[in-house]
Amino acid sequence: MTTRVSRATLGAFLGPAVAALVIVGIAPLLFALWKSFHYFNLTKLAQQRFVGLENYAAVLTDTVFWQAMGRTALLFVMSVPVQIIFGLSIALVLHRPGLTLFKTLARLSLVLPMATTYAVVGLLAQVMLNQKYGVINQMLGWLGVDPINFIGDPTNAFLAVVIWDIWQWTPFVALVLLAGLSTVPPEIEEAAKLETKSNWVVLRHVQLPYLIPSLVAVLILRTADTLKLFDMPFTMTRGGPGSATEFIAVLIERVGNRQFDIGMAAAQSIIMLALTIVLARLYIRFFYREVR
């Protein structure tokens, strides 16, 4: 149900937000778009010139760029499903009745990882995952596992980023899915429980359809955030060793802020932005079907 209102009212409600985002969001973006058609290096301003689509051509044929994209995609497919599975499991446990106090505590503790500063998370990873003085290796030692060189080995470093990303964002996924679960009418769950003991069947056939909006939200947010992931790998590994953890945002930051090639970085960013938007649209198109 919607209300028809006058243009003035509409403007009063929407105007400020639209104006604000146009100013802080669109204007710089247009600037970036414009610069992406230039050779524009801060340390070589004398050589600034319009180059048309050259930067785009360079980015699209740059193996480093595509490797970083691939790495980012790999991170996404490795961490997001785990986040969803863990998050869903946690949500399901918290959704069940009983043990209220425990569950409140658990819910509160879920806030911790997502509230921890991302840059700090990377530093914390260095401390905890260190081969020598890291507590994780100490604990693995108790289990009889030899110390693992988490940060120094390309594969392990990548895995460490995956694990840490999972740690930080699983709680968020859990909370969103928990909220999604709370939209399932209790009688519908009960109706299913009368048919089957299997929690899996209830989840798959009854709860899942209600979770789809939440899942799409999670997918959209996690896609955007994975593509933007910078602080944590930067403080943890700086993209190394080798380029094992050089994700797309780390790469762009390097090109823009360390090689000062703003034009190129802008082209890379805009390609990335376009990709995110396309992905978000696809999610909505394919996963988002009406439940009600």
């Binding site: 340390t43 590994t237 993209g239 190394g240 080798g242 380029s243 000062f260």
Partner: protein
């Protein structure tokens, strides 16, 4: 000429400068009040991580910001000079109202002032925070293994000390190699030069696949067996900590880490700490060279420029060198180290003086393209160490990418002088 008098017209001027969180800057910060009291000039220093210092300054200069003094790592000097962001010192040394008669440029280690402050024959900055690579070692561990002196050459370090000291979870050596400036400065370049290699040849083409360069890089590869696992992730702090905790016997590090390794708060070494110059290679010592100079920024107004010069001149002066050293800084004044008694307190002094006698200014090329090239070296240098590419292939890749950067910059079509 007195400072007070020279500064009179500039009293009340405020100067903006970036500092790092390192001992030399701490020393300077302690000394600044004295300068401010004498001159009425105010120094506003902002501490930033090294990682951000370049970006911070580049953006400020591009945007016509408010920095009045540039803090220049030796590898940035070409960049800053070519962009015209900094002012040559002769503008001030020629002005009797500003130039301290005691300035005595010859008293600076020539290598240092040339490398840190000079570009293409012009001097822009005075060396302020100065480093040389040194060999720090745990003399007790060496003694236990039967050595009463440190290795003289890299070959000796690897073939004699390496096997003897690598056992029981302890390692003979650590070479900090993390993928950032550490990889290119402390790891890659460190092995290139002593073996006779270099980044570029006379035509500015890649020299990395020359037999000498290859020998050096291959040596680094071979040496890794005596280093802790995951050395590729070691930054200074991990490497220093390895030595400080007694897990590593030897370490090539900047002179500035002396205080960290000597302090009981951060190190367990105590009297076992010893310092020597870096080992020699077939091509001689060629130790790592690094450090920062201070230069007047051209975006400053005239009063700020003059005041800035007065500050730079003062903080690097012969008169202040002793105090600077005392507070944990490393001055570049030869006169400061004349007193042999100092070597008792600061064990690194002899080694430092020794090192600054034979170094190469272009240890890392100092032209404006270095920020782009270092990123390439960091990426492929670590890959090389990890065995993801062979030494040969890696060097080739770096070479190609490096040449592309240089071509883009115009070195090959004669647009730019071949200065590094």
């Amino acid at each position: 000429w007195t400072l007070e008098e020279a500064a009179k017209p500039y009293a009340g001027t405020e100067l903006e400068v970036l500092f790092l969180d390192r001992p030399g800057y701490k020393a300077a910060i302690e000394m600044i009040p004295e300068f401010e009291a004498a001159t009425g000039i105010k120094i506003n220093q902002t501490t930033v991580p090294y990682e951000n210092a370049l970006g911070e300054q580049v953006r400020d200069f591009v945007a016509g910001g408010d920095l009045d003094i540039a803090l220049i790592d030796l590898v940035w000097i070409g960049n800053f000079a070519e962009n015209g962001w900094i002012v040559p010192i002769d503008q001030f040394t020629a002005d009797p109202a500003l130039a301290d008669p005691e300035l005595d440029m010859a008293d600076f280690f020539p290598l240092v002032v040339n490398a840190f402050g000079g570009w293409n024959g012009t001097t822009y900055g005075l060396p302020f925070d100065n480093y040389s690579g040194l060999l720090f070692y745990n003399s007790c561990m060496l003694k236990d293994a039967g050595f009463d002196k440190p290795p003289e050459t890299w070959a000796e370090l690897k073939d004699v000390y390496g096997p003897a000291l690598t056992k029981d979870g302890k390692y003979a050596f650590a070479l900090q190699s993390k993928r950032n400036e550490t990889q290119s400065a402390d790891s890659f370049a460190r092995m290139l030069w002593p073996f006779g290699g270099s980044f570029l040849n006379a035509e500015f083409k890649s020299n990395l696949n020359s037999p000498e360069s290859q020998a050096g890089l291959q040596f680094r590869q071979d040496l890794m067996q005596y280093m802790p696992e995951g050395i590729v992730a070691y930054d200074h702090s991990e490497a220093v900590n390895g030595l400080a905790q007694g897990d590593v016997a030897m370490l090539t590090e900047w002179s500035a880490f002396y205080s960290t390794l000597a302090s009981p708060e951060t190190s367990t070494l105590g009297d076992c700490l010893a310092v020597a110059p870096e080992p020699k290679g077939p091509a001689g010592r060629k130790p790592a060279l690094g450090g920062f100079s201070l230069a007047v920024a051209s975006q400053a107004d005239d009063a700020e420029k003059a005041a800035g010069w007065l500050f730079i001149q003062w903080i690097t002066s012969k008169a202040n060198a002793g105090k600077y050293l005392e507070m944990g800084g490393v001055p570049a004044r030869q006169s400061a180290y004349a007193d042999p008694a100092l070597a008792e307190t600061y064990k690194f002094i002899p080694a430092l003086v020794e090192s600054w006698k034979e170094g190469v200014p272009e240890f890392r090329p100092r032209f404006a393209e270095w920020p782009a090239i270092t990123e390439i070296v960091q990426e492929w240098g670590t890959k090389m160490m990890l065995g993801e590419v062979s030494v040969d292939e890696g060097a080739k890749t770096i070479g190609e990418k490096m040449e592309a950067v240089l071509a883009e910059a115009g070195y090959y079509d004669g647009k730019k002088p071949l200065a590094q």
